[in-house]
């Protein structure tokens, strides 16, 4: 193993890790927004919204994320959507993970006991107040872990923007392999950095989940 090479290139990898982190955070935020909207649509009283939500989820989950990234980045300009690679990657990945988060959030809401809604409605609370004050606070606790799983997948999924030249960890590894012919070191370095990011996020999720359980 070429440790001297690793010491020479690692600052570039740290920079790339920072890009991966930014990409992950923005993707997660966009994903959560899409997931909340998607879940609201799928649970709507109105069939049209439910239909739109179901179509969103099945299209996204039925096609490879890489294709979704390519469609937006390469296909976008053809229909008048011109985005730089970072923006295209973030949006495509955010919308992608949003479909999975839709199902996570919906599942958590549905797993709150029906008696909770009945008790609240019986007191005279409206649907929305019941959702906000009784169902969502309970669903929020239930969704922390599964959303953590989604976020774990999302972080690893950011590697899918390497082919559109976002200078993140996977792209950086490939670039240095081109000049150094040391794939083992380069992939090891990027892999370790992914692991570090995922470990920190995982600990955060674990902490949140534990805190939410203390009542």
């Amino acid at each position: 193993m070429d440790t001297e090479l690793i010491l020479r290139v690692y600052p570039f990898f740290l920079e790339a890790a920072w890009v991966t982190i930014q990409l992950s955070v923005l993707t997660a935020l966009l994903g959560l927004a899409c997931g909340a909207l998607g879940a609201a649509a799928r649970l709507s009283r109105l069939a049209a919204f439910r239909f739109v939500g179901a179509v969103y989820v099945s299209i996204i989950r039925g096609t490879p994320a890489l294709i979704q990234v390519f469609i937006l980045y390469f296909g976008g300009p053809q229909i008048g959507i011109q985005l730089d690679s970072f923006a295209a990657g973030t949006i495509a990945l955010g919308v992608n993970i949003g479909a999975y988060m839709t199902e996570t959030i919906r599942g958590a809401i549905l797993s709150v006991d029906k008696g909770q809604t009945e008790a609240a409605r019986t007191l005279g609370l409206s649907r929305w107040k019941t959702m906000r004050k009784v169902v969502l606070p309970q669903a929020a606790r239930l969704m922390i872990r599964p959303l953590g799983v989604n976020i774990n997948a999302l972080i690893k999924g950011t590697a899918l923007v390497a082919p559109i030249s976002v200078v993140e960890l996977t792209y950086t590894a490939q670039r240095f392999i081109g000049s150094t012919y040391k794939p083992f070191e380069m992939f090891l370095l990027s892999g370790l950095l992914y692991m570090a990011i995922i470990y920190v996020v995982g600990q955060g999720v674990h902490w949140l989940d534990r805190r939410a359980r203390i009542t």
Partner: protein
């Protein structure tokens, strides 16, 4: 005033698909009256009770609270506003308590009064203290439901319903999920309400309790009211064969 119809159910019918769960039920409850509904499992007791506050709307028929028709047919928005309003006057207590686990006892009791009646925090706290004192649980005000016994949970659930100052209280087997030694503390609270002349409709499997607190008993079977009358008649001298069979099984337990 006292013999004025308070809760009125007219020609109530309810089906789930082909299954007729309620068939042409008529019931009038006067202000301050306490009515027990008894009957075998699946006879439609819960369904009838839940029709009164529109949790399970009737297929046909009418439900009235004083001069307000509860199950009015209205466009969706108006209907929602209407039921949210009328439900404030109808307290309901469930077999499985359905306390909000993420809120303290105080939070459980004050949620609806604060959201719906615009009480300030101080007013809501006072209300919670009053209601808890009534059910004998003042010291549990800052506990979470998970730390209460079943009997205590049910008493909090009753306090929560009472905090809305309902005109009528509905109980759906309020003590069925409790360990036998915890039943009496809940019954005691219900007896106390009876003494205060709360109008109550009580679905129960406890015949002794029904006999001692209720003014009237309805025996339901297969979606119809088979027989009704004062407890002395229903329990001691029922006219109908089905009532007699049911009571034979239940009184000899």
């Amino acid at each position: 005033m006292s013999d004025q119809a308070f809760v009125t159910i007219k020609n109530a019918a309810k089906s789930y698909g082909q299954l007729e769960v309620l068939k042409d039920i008529n019931l009038t409850v006067q202000r301050g009256q306490i009515v027990a509904i008894i009957g075998p499992s699946g006879s439609g007791k819960s369904t009838l009770l839940r029709a009164i506050n529109e949790l399970d709307p009737l297929t046909s028929g009418e439900v009235w609270l004083e001069d307000v028709q509860i199950n009015r047919k209205l466009p969706h928005r108006q209907y929602e506003a209407h039921v949210n309003q009328v439900r404030q006057d109808i307290g309901m207590v469930f077999q499985h308590f359905n306390l909000f686990p993420h809120l303290t006892v105080r939070g459980n009791i004050t949620l609806a009064p604060r959201m719906l009646k615009g009480l300030t925090e101080a007013e809501a706290n006072k209300l919670a203290e009053e209601q808890l004192a009534k059910v004998g649980l003042s010291e549990k005000i800052d506990e979470y439901p998970s730390r209460l016994s079943g009997g205590q949970k049910q008493r909090v659930a009753i306090a929560r319903a009472l905090a809305m100052k309902p005109k009528v209280m509905l109980f759906d087997e309020a003590t069925s999920a409790l360990d036998p030694e915890l039943v009496e503390e809940v019954n005691l609270v219900m007896r106390q309400l009876a003494e205060e002349h709360m109008t109550m409709i009580i679905v129960t499997h406890e015949m002794d309790f029904a006999a001692s607190v209720c003014d009237r008993v309805l025996f339901m079977d297969k979606g119809v009211v088979v027989e009704e009358g004062p407890p002395s008649v229903i329990f001691q001298n029922p006219a109908n064969e089905r009532t007699r069979n049911f009571l034979r099984k239940h009184l000899s337990r």
